[in-house]
Each structure stands twice: as structure tokens, then as C-alpha cells.
């Protein structure tokens, strides 16, 4: 029989999606076609289940529909290539549903994550494909989240699958050595999904998909599959500790509110506790990776009762560690901010000078934004205003541009 469609049904459907895809892809050895078939099964479920109720065996239902689509696909491929009747006859009688269901492998979601985050793909392609194949989101939902037409997103995903096909990646879990090598790419994609999760309420009466929550869910699933991996746990902690501040980050007109001005009563204490608990468990293992360190920094901020209570020396020490573990211009930039908070703005500005000759970041708006912030603290308002304006002109985020412009205006008005 069936159960009525309710608030948990959509979540259930999304959780089942990669399991269905994994099973079908493994059986038919054609990831691209299986992914299309799984998508169609999802859409069929989204259309029918709210009316007819959720089937008793929802996964079996989805697999059955996906298999029928695959059989149709196989049949039309055969018709197109005019193969022998014997093979065509086999396709007619093929009914693998039970067999597939029985052969479900919990590692399938992990296999899919590695596949969809394959280094051969560009990051936007990997993000889109991961959201569909692993996240179980529809093309329309993903398109809406990234403000492109559905047809464009469908093409992007289709081409991503062609790239995977061309790279010859088999549908199996990478070897432990490969996993170690490729895990950073997967974590990076998940982190990008999280940080792309900027939801503007303008222009849509529909709920804009919460990418941050999707990223947390996918990372959580990954953590269940790799429970001993401290970087996965670190990433999860980082997401929770950052997401906890979400309600305080933007004002009523979508204006940005910086960390030191946020109303901390709006921070989600439950999320912070969960993040800290995860982080503590992760840090107790031997190695310390970049997500754990970033999570630790977020934890120090989140534990401060007020901006003034922030343990900046702790944060500085963590950035020093981060500079050794995962050096990058952005890390140097953030390290400079922390150094400024501990030793004064002159120290921070001194550290920024090293970045002026780094082609990866020279001319990047954040360099000017941080410089402006430190110059303001030093009392050099005129030059600070100049750098706020340069930063405002260089960012591609409207809320950031508005914020930086407002800072310049604020200083100019004093």
C-alpha cells in the first residue's frame, strides 16, 4: 500500500536518489544513461507520489521505473544500431529490478561522489553533477539555485557526464591510494556548494534552494560512509560552525553585517555545539588538515560571547599552523588580519605587503578590502577610503560592493 506524502517525503526521495543511481549504474555499466534514467524516476516520483502516496517500498519503485527507462534506452539504442533480433529479444524479457535491489551497495553514494568530483571536470560542472546525481536534486532546482535556465543546466550536466565517459572512469570505488589523492577534490566541491549557498529573496516567490543545507547533508552522508576520516569530519564541523551564524550575517535589506558587528543572540547555539563536538572528536586523531583547522578557527569565533571576547591569539596560532599545512594567499590574508588583532594594524599591513607581488592575489578585491580595514584602524582614513573604493569596484558580489561602498562613505563622512 502507500503512505501519504508529507514533510519528510522529499527528504526521503533525495536520500534514495544516489542509492537508486548506484544500483542501476553498476548493473548497466553506463553511468550517463543510468543517471538520466534515475533523474526520470525521481521526476516521476515527485509528480506521482504527492497524489498517490509514497509506496511501501519506495526504493524498489524508483529502481523499477529507472530500469524501465534503461530498458527503453537500451531498446532504442539497439534499434538505432540494428543489432540481431536475439539481443533485442533479451531486452524485452529483461527484468532486473529484484536483482538490482538485492545488490545495493552502501558504497554507491561514495562511488558517485568520487565520480562526480572527478578532476577532469570543471568545478561548476562537478558541483552541478554532484547536486543531481548524489543530491537527488532536479535540474530545475539546480538551475534555479544558480540563476541559469533549466535547459542550460541540463546541457552542463549532460556534458559533464560525457567528460566522465570519455575519461573512462569505471563505476567502482577508487583504490585506497586513489581515494586519498582524490578526497580533497570531493571535499572542495562540497565546500563550494556550501559557500555558494547565498540565497537572495529577490525575484522569486519560490523557495530558493538552500545549497548550504544541501552541502551539510551531503557531507554528513560522506561522514557516515567514511567515519574515521578526520578531514570529512572537519569539513562538516566547519560547515555547521559557519552556518550557525547565518541569521546574523545579513540585515533586512540583504546588507552584509561583518562578524564583529553581528548580533550573536541570533547565532544557532545548537549548531555550534554540534560543530564543536564533531571538531573535538576529529582533532583527537593524529593528523590535522585544512578543514579541521578552518573549523577550529570558526569555533574560536563562535565561542566568543562578544567580538571583544574573541581569543585572537588562539586564532593567530591556528592561522600559523594553517600557513604550514595549506598555504595560500587567502590564508596569508586572514593570517594578517589575526596578526593585526594581536599585534596592531601596522603588523597586519606589513604582512600584507608580501601579497602585493603574488600574482594569485595582487589586484584581488579582498586584498584592498583588508588593507582598507587595517588602514582605518591605524587612523589613516584617507588611504583607507581609497582602498575601500578600489575593493568595491573589483568585487563581483553586489552585497559586498554595497558594504564596501558604505564603509568608504562612512569614513568620508566622519
Amino acid at each position: 500500500m502507500t503512505k501519504p506524502w508529507d514533510a519528510t517525503s522529499e527528504q526521503l526521495l533525495r536520500e534514495l536518489a544516489p542509492q537508486v543511481l548506484g544500483s542501476v549504474a553498476r548493473r548497466f555499466h553506463d553511468f550517463a544513461a543510468a543517471e538520466d534514467a534515475a533523474q526520470e524516476a525521481m521526476i516521476a516520483a515527485f509528480t506521482q507520489w504527492p497524489e498517490e502516496g509514497v509506496p511501501d517500498n519506495p526504493r524498489g519503485w524508483l529502481i523499477q521505473v529507472a530500469c524501465r527507462r534503461m530498458a527503453d534506452h537500451v531498446r532504442s539504442e539497439i534499434a538505432r544500431r540494428s543489432r540481431e533480433t536475439a539481443v533485442a529479444a533479451e531486452a524485452e524479457t529483461f527484468s532486473p529490478t529484484l536483482e538490482i535491489e538485492a545488490n545495493m551497495d552502501p558504497d554507491d553514494t561514495l562511488i558517485l561522489l568520487f565520480m562526480c568530483c572527478h578532476p577532469a571536470l570543471t568545478l561548476p560542472s562537478a558541483i552541478a553533477l554532484t547536486l543531481r546525481a548524489v543530491g537527488g536534486l532536479t535540474t530545475a532546482e539546480i538551475a534555479h539555485a544558480f540563476l541559469v535556465p533549466e535547459a542550460t543546466m541540463a546541457q552542463r550536466i549532460s556534458r559533464a557526464k560525457q567528460t566522465i565517459k570519455a575519461s573512462g572512469v569505471p563505476f567502482r570505488l577508487p583504490s585506497p591510494h586513489e581515494r586519498l589523492e582524490r578526497l580533497p577534490a570531493v571535499l572542495h566541491v562540497l565546500y563550494l556548494i556550501f559557500s555558494e549557498g547565498y540565497v537572495s529573496s529577490i525575484g522569486s516567490n519560490l523557495q530558493r534552494l538552500d545549497l548550504a543545507r544541501e552541502a551539510i547533508r551531503l557531507t554528513h552522508n560522506m561522514k557516515t560512509l567514511l567515519p574515521d576520516n578526520s578531514e570529512v569530519a572537519g569539513l562538516m564541523a566547519l560547515m555547521l560552525l559557519t552556518d550557525a551564524r547565518r541569521a546574523a550575517r545579513t540585515g533586512p535589506d540583504e546588507e552584509l553585517i561583518p562578524l564583529d558587528k553581528q548580533d550573536r543572540t541570533l547565532w544557532d547555539r545548537a549548531e555550534i555545539s554540534e560543530g564543536i563536538e564533531l571538531l573535538t572528536a576529529a582533532l583527537s586523531k593524529a593528523s590535522v588538515g585544512l578543514y579541521q583547522l578552518q573549523a577550529a578557527i570558526a569555533a574560536v569565533h563562535d565561542e566568543a560571547a562578544s567580538a571583544e571576547d574573541t581569543d585572537w591569539p588562539q586564532i593567530l596560532a591556528l592561522y600559523e599552523l594553517l600557513k604550514r599545512v595549506a598555504p595560500s594567499p587567502m590564508v596569508t590574508l586572514n593570517h594578517a588580519i589575526a596578526a593585526a588583532m594581536v599585534y596592531g594594524p601596522a603588523k597586519g599591513l606589513e604582512l600584507l605587503r608580501a601579497l602585493d607581488s603574488d600574482p594569485r592575489i595582487a589586484g584581488h578585491y579582498r586584498l584592498d578590502a583588508v588593507r582598507a580595514h587595517l588602514l582605518e584602524k591605524m587612523g589613516d582614513h584617507e588611504v583607507a577610503i581609497k582602498h575601500y573604493r578600489i575593493a568595491a569596484a573589483r568585487t563581483t558580489s553586489m552585497p559586498e560592493r554595497n558594504y564596501l561602498t558604505a564603509q568608504a562613505a562612512r569614513l568620508a563622512g566622519d
Binding site: 570543471t122 561548476p124 560542472s125 544558480f146 540563476l147 541559469v148 535556465p149 535547459a151 542550460t152 543546466m153 546541457q155 552542463r156 550536466i157 549532460s158 556534458r159 559557500s195 555558494e196 549557498g197 547565498y198 559557519t242 551564524r245 550575517r249 552584509l256 553585517i257 561583518p258 562578524l259 564583529d260 586572514n334 588580519i337 579582498r366 578590502a369 568585487t395 563581483t396 558580489s397 553586489m398 552585497p399 559586498e400 560592493r401 558594504y403
Partner: protein, 130 residues
């Protein structure tokens, strides 16, 4: 990364160019082919043609809340004839697309070499300010 690609190529009073029919068709076919390719690559967000400059209005706020619509455009103004919004991997690809558009065929099938303006669109998610 999202860009706006603009054809700011029309002067007041201009309309459909006075080319032979086959040249007009070649031009349209070129644009349609480009749009198809952009779509297939998952790069096309939108492609729009605008009505001609003689229908453009310059509007200002009026005193009583009603708009004033008889604003006069400067004689030298270059009107937007059409634009694309593209979502591409990086600036090189954006320039390449703009160069393609610029080389669209005109009279006699010769590439027009139109000046095509390219601007990033404000689309990045905001970073939390510390």
C-alpha cells in the same frame, strides 16, 4: 562566471540594415548558430534582441509621481541592439565568444567587426566580512 555581452551598435533612427536579403539571412543564421553552440555548451543564460532605437524612451521621475517620458537622447548615443548573458569558466572564454559575435557577417558576407562590450555581472556570493 557570468558576463553581459552587449551589442551597442545602433544609432538613432537605425533599423534593419539595408543589406541584400541573403546577407540578412546569413547574419541571422550566424547568430542562431552561435546561440545553439552556447546552449549546447551550457553557457547560455539568455540572448535578447531589443526593439529599435526609435521606440526607446528616456524616463525620469516626474514631480507628482508620474514619469516624464519625453527625454531626449544625445545624438551620438549608441543604442543597445541586443545582449547575451553567458556563464563561462573564465574571461578567456568570454572574450572568445565576444570575438565571435563581433565577426558576425554583414553586407556581402564580410565580418562586421562590431565593437562588442563585455562586463562581468555582479553574481558572486558574498563572503562574510571579518
Amino acid at each position: 562566471m557570468k558576463y553581459m555581452v552587449m551589442m551597442n551598435t545602433m544609432k538613432a533612427g537605425q533599423g534593419v540594415p539595408a543589406w541584400p536579403k541573403k546577407d540578412l539571412q546569413a547574419h541571422i543564421a550566424f547568430m542562431m548558430g552561435l546561440n545553439k553552440e552556447l546552449h549546447e555548451r551550457g553557457e547560455l543564460v539568455s540572448a535578447e534582441g531589443l526593439s529599435f532605437p526609435n521606440q526607446a524612451k528616456l524616463v525620469r521621475a516626474g514631480k507628482d509621481g508620474r514619469p516624464i517620458t519625453d527625454g531626449v537622447f544625445p545624438e551620438s548615443k549608441e543604442f543597445l541592439a541586443g545582449f547575451w548573458i553567458i556563464d563561462v569558466d573564465g574571461p578567456e572564454r568570454a572574450y572568445a565568444i565576444a570575438a565571435r559575435i563581433s565577426a558576425a557577417p554583414g553586407a556581402g558576407g564580410t565580418p562586421l567587426n562590431m565593437p562588442i562590450e563585455l562586463r562581468p555581472i555582479m553574481s558572486g556570493p558574498p563572503q562574510e566580512m571579518v
